[in-house]
């Protein structure tokens, strides 16, 4: 039985899909963000599988559209973009390269996502986790809001240089 060619990271179609950028975090590619799960080619059809970061992520439609256009531009006529929900996206999937690009853009990358079993504990005070300021490097920063311009980020402020900055939340 002939199965789909599971594309290695070397394949050209993968390279094209992997270089499409996130519409809301344009410094990151979909591969950096960890939402690009798989690219396969079979009988001339390129099948791209992506996963949403958050359920309501409004960028999903744009990502699909950008993937189709990028691949068509690169000569692949038949492109099928699919969603996969399981396993749910985790901020741990942002690559090292992605973390470096976030920090360079002034956005603090996420720490390790919580691993939980049993009932989820309440957090009644802002978490004390130390998120270093991406501008001056000081560890003395505070969370000012749990939510920010996109679902995946929180707002923080540096107490050393006084700059506000965004922080990709750990989920």
């Amino acid at each position: 039985m002939v199965t789909a060619t599971a594309t290695t990271e070397m394949s050209r179609a993968y390279q094209v899909a992997a270089s499409v950028t996130d519409p809301e975090l344009p410094m990151l590619t979909l591969a950096d963000l960890g939402v690009l799960r798989e690219v396969t080619e079979e009988d001339g059809v390129v099948r791209v599988t992506i996963t949403p970061t958050y359920s309501g992520c409004p960028a999903m439609d744009t990502m699909r559209d950008d993937l189709v256009h990028a691949l068509r531009e690169a000569g692949y006529r038949d492109v099928d973009v699919r969603t996969v929900l399981h396993p749910a996206w985790s901020s741990d999937w942002i690559t090292e390269e992605g973390r470096r690009k976030l920090a360079e853009a002034g956005i603090a990358p996420p720490g390790p996502a919580p691993r939980r079993s049993g009932p989820i504990p309440l957090t009644l005070t802002p978490p004390s986790s130390r998120v270093p300021c991406p501008k001056c490097g000081s560890p003395d920063t505070v969370e000012t809001a749990r939510f920010s311009a996109t679902a995946c980020k929180a707002l923080r402020r540096c107490r050393s240089c006084d700059e506000p900055f965004e922080h990709v939340k750990e989920i």
């Binding site: 270089s19 439609d61 009644l124």
Partner: protein, 297 residues
Amino acid sequence: MSAVSKMAFDNAYEAITEENDARWAYGTGFTDPLAGVDTTVPAEVDGADLAAYCLMLGDDALILSHRLQQWCTHAPELEDEVALANIGLDLLGQARMLLTRAGKADGSDRTEDSFAFFRAEHEFRNVRLAEAPNGDFAFSMARLLVFATWRLALLQRLTSSIDPVLAAIAAKGVKEVTYHRDYAAQWVVRLGDGTELSHERMQAGLDAVWPLVGELFEPHPVELRLGPAAVDVRELRPEFDEVIAQVLGAATLQVPDAEPLAGVSGKAGRDGVHTEAMGYLLAELQSVARAHPEATW
């Protein structure tokens, strides 16, 4: 690389004239939030019951999302405006997947829009807690605390549903609703343990929400028939009470003692029997889609 970065619209004019107009939120051509997900209903699960259950959980999220959206331009601070909008967006995302799942499970192939915009009030199966008008900020925070605490406990159990689609939607939702619950809990503590006035208003908000709590733990026959595909809401009460006691303790507030709001002949939100507020809410939610039924966006 160059070919790809070129199509990423260096030129704004090119971007709007090119056939790709997704940047402007119109006509992406991708309307199915479950595109490519295997939506086969497991053999041991009844499709009609599963669809009804997806509508219950989807309508809870859709209707509360609408209430949260109504805070836009009315929130006390920009940060809270953004937070409430983000929470509403998460819930809207959950609703989109659940309504789409319903249309696949019952075999009707109805879309999320068809469920959201073209059902009548008695066909909505959300709990009445979700539809209650926003009231003041304290009422909205009390309602969000109750809703998120209950939904988080529910979704966490739903991650082991024998329907893999429902389990996957729940697993994503758990991560999101954890943040919603923390957000509401922190506000309840801040206001309850704040000034005399904020304490009084927060307690009043909780007292006003409480009659709507009982319904959350009344299992509907559909939920019971679905067995391991669904969650028996009666099991959620101990965890709910424990979390609420922890928050209200820190907030120096009292757990209200209120009789549950009666239904009509024993029927309530899950049966499509709603409060007066629901009709007004749906009029706002549905009027544009109904005035332009052929429109796409």
